[in-house]
């Protein structure tokens, strides 16, 4: 909302440049943030249902009412500020009472709805008051049959076959559209409403449900749905929710299985591909190894040849060395034989050592 900070959103008596009254929108916000309230018109009556957040576990059950009779044949359910709701209820009671004392007949639903809308609208007209933070679902069963109306904070009023306000309104409206309201009895209606309320309640936090109806079963009087029926409806709703969850779980399971299958297929494909690749690789490898072997063979051959060559070269050089040595050996042999002839004995090793030690002793003795 573009009104924030512009200064055009501080009073109901101020229009914004683009023709909005922001205070009214803001009041609507209060309704949008509150617990969901649903109303449906079935073939034989009207069912109202409200979702009540539990603010404390020490609260008495069935307190903190959201549905109120305003006459024997009419009642409302309020979404938004509970206190504002009661103000509307008081007014509705006064209107109903006034009509009856003036005309002697119960107030028709459309008249009551119109009067409530007018009253609500008044609070959008003056700077000195604020709009109600309440949307009111009005159920009535008069001569004209069962009717459902919605009066909003702005003072607009419409008749509905089914509608929802509050936090979960969008989801609830979608669900209501799926119902066959023309064929549905109120008994089925309470279960449907309970189911929807349970479905759109998103938080894990607990909540209390309040159901009210006006139909043949209730003697055309607006009243809370008898406890037993309400409990049955709630049980059905919980079961449905569980079923829904199970269904969702089932869906998940199947999708999981599908995924698994897909995965398996993909894996198989991969495996095949891999095998092929491996095969190819192996082939390649084999080729390569074959090539390598050839290369090796070649190299070996080469090596052998080189070796042969080298051996030959070595043999040649050895022969050359031997040839070169021969004069030397001859020389040595000649020298030896000459030495032998001259009888010169080389000094044996031990004798040479003794001689050396004696010399060393002589040196050290002179020192000390």
């Amino acid at each position: 909302m573009s009104g924030i900070g512009s200064g055009y959103d501080l009073s109901t008596s101020t229009f914004s440049p683009d023709g909005r009254v922001f205070q009214t929108d803001y009041a609507q916000k209060a309704v949008d943030n509150s617990g969901t309230v649903i109303g449906i018109r079935c073939k034989d009556g009207v069912v109202l249902g409200a979702e009540k957040q539990l603010i404390s576990k020490m609260l008495e059950s069935n307190s903190n009412r959201r549905t109120f009779p305003v006459d024997r044949h009419a009642g409302v359910a309020c979404a938004g500020l509970a206190a504002d709701g009661r103000a509307i209820v008081s007014r509705a009671m006064a209107e109903a009472n006034n009509y009856k004392s003036f005309y002697g007949d119960p107030i028709p639903g459309h008249v009551l709805a119109e009067r409530l809308a007018t009253y609500t609208h008044l609070f959008n007209m003056y700077w000195s008051v604020r709009p109600f933070g309440v949307s009111t679902l009005l159920a009535s069963y008069g001569k004209e049959g069962p009717h459902l109306y919605l009066v909003e904070p702005s003072g607009t009023m419409h008749r509905y076959f089914g509608t929802a306000v509050g936090k979960g309104r969008q989801g609830a409206k979608n669900e209501i559209e799926k119902l066959k309201l023309e064929e549905m009895s109120c008994r089925e209606g309470i279960t449907a409403v309970a189911k929807i309320l349970h479905q759109v309640h998103d938080e894990e936090k607990g909540f209390e449900m309040e159901l009210a109806w006006i139909c043949e079963d209730s003697g055309r009087q607006f009243q809370r749905v008898p406890q037993q029926l309400a409990e049955e409806a709630e049980a059905a709703a919980k079961a449905a929710r569980l079923e829904n969850q199970e269904q969702a779980l089932g869906k998940l399971d199947t999708s999981l299985a599908e995924l698994r299958q897909e995965l398996a297929a993909a894996a198989a494909e991969l495996r095949q591909e891999l095998a092929e690749q491996r095969k190819e690789l192996r082939q390649e490898l084999a080729e390569q190894s074959k090539e390598l072997a050839e290369q090796r063979k070649e190299l070996c051959q080469e090596l052998a040849e080189q070796r042969k060559e080298l051996l030959a070269a070595v043999a040649a050089s050895e022969a050359r060395v031997a040839a070169a040595q021969k004069p030397l050996v001859d020389l040595v042999t000649a020298a030896m034989s000459a030495l032998a002839d001259s009888n010169i004995q080389p000094l044996p090793h031990a004798a040479r050592q003794e001689q050396e030690e004696a010399e060393a002793e002589a040196c050290s003795g002179s020192d000390s």
Binding site: L10, M58, L59, N64, R86, S128, R130, P131
Partner: protein
């Protein structure tokens, strides 16, 4: 400088769909000293901590009798509370005059709530620019055809039907205590109920101890008209020694509010009549305020400090008790 431009008027919605003035009024309740209310199948009990603005002053009353079958404890702006108290007394009297019977609590509470929103009873006060919401929370306890009730009336014009409830400064600790215990309240006797109330109160007491001076208790229920227990009448409960004499007080003198001097002759009478009970009371008289209470607190040895409570209390405005 940022300033919340949506919070100065009770007729201005914030873009989020809130009305800050109402929320601020609810804060006023947290400034007042703590009060608890709880009920069994037959009785409802109120207990409050009283403050005194100075050593020399009396303690501010926080529990008011509305009718024989109903009373309130207040937290927040005492003066606002007294307006509502007067209104309720008036309504109850009118109801008695016209129907010759006690007004059902649920109806009373709904009327107060409708009134309470901008200082012409709650809801109206939250919708007119020249008014403001009442800055006071009420715990309404009483007994009618449907049994005992404990209602909480909020400045927002909401009211709640509770099994047990606490409000005021640091009441979170008391609430925590009650939340742990409330399931056992259904079958509790009156004495046990009062004890639970005092325990809860003790939990929200930051420093110091419960004495028969700084707290008051009220009981109402089946065959028991709304009765305030204070000072001597309360002492036995505080000391933890639940003298049956005390129980007798609220039974015997049900219907009349007995405090201070009015109560004294009865106490002497009981002392003379029942040597045992009297002995117990005689031993304790003045000293019990400190010693006895300390013993009780020690014995109970529970939750001091406790949970988050409501903000600091500092020198709490003298209006708020």
């Amino acid at each position: 400088m940022f300033r919340n431009q949506y919070d100065t008027d009770v007729t201005t919605w914030s873009p989020q769909g809130r009305i800050f003035q109402i929320e601020y009024a609810m804060e006023a309740v947290k400034q007042g000293s703590a009060a608890v209310g709880l009920k069994s199948k037959e009785y409802a009990v109120l207990a409050t901590l009283k403050r005194a603005p100075s050593e020399l002053s009396s303690y501010q009353r926080k529990v008011f009798k509305i009718d024989d079958h109903m009373g309130i404890a207040i937290s927040g702006l005492t003066a606002d509370g007294r307006i509502l108290c007067r209104y309720m007394r008036n309504e109850c009297l009118n109801h008695r005059y016209v129907y010759d019977s006690a007004m059902p609590l649920g109806r009373m509470v709904r009327q107060v709530a409708d009134k309470a929103q901008v200082a012409d009873k709650a809801q109206v006060g939250t919708q007119r620019s020249w008014k403001r919401p009442y800055g006071v929370g009420l715990i309404v306890a009483g007994y009618d055809e449907a049994g005992p009730h404990v209602f909480y009336n909020c400045p927002s014009g909401n009211y709640y039907d509770y099994k047990a409830f606490a409000m005021g400064a640091r009441s979170q600790a008391a609430k925590t205590y009650l939340e742990r215990q409330f399931e056992s309240f259904g079958g509790a006797s009156l004495d046990e109920l009062v004890k639970h109330a005092l325990h809860a109160l003790q939990a929200s007491l930051q420093d110091g101890e419960l004495t028969d001076k700084n707290c008051s208790v009220a009981v109402v229920g089946k065959d028991t008209t709304f009765t305030l227990l204070e000072d001597e009448a309360l002492a036995p409960y505080i000391t933890g020694a639940l003298a049956s004499a005390c129980y007798c007080f609220c039974r015997l003198f049900a219907g009349a509010l007995l405090e201070d001097e009015a109560l004294a002759p009865y106490i002497t009478a009981v002392k003379e009549e029942e040597p045992e009970a009297a002995g117990m009371e005689a031993e304790q008289p003045a000293a019990e305020a400190e010693g006895g209470a300390a013993a009780a607190a020690g014995g109970e040895g529970e939750q001091q400090g406790g949970g988050g409570g409501g903000g600091d209390e500092g020198g709490a405005a003298p209006m708020q008790e």
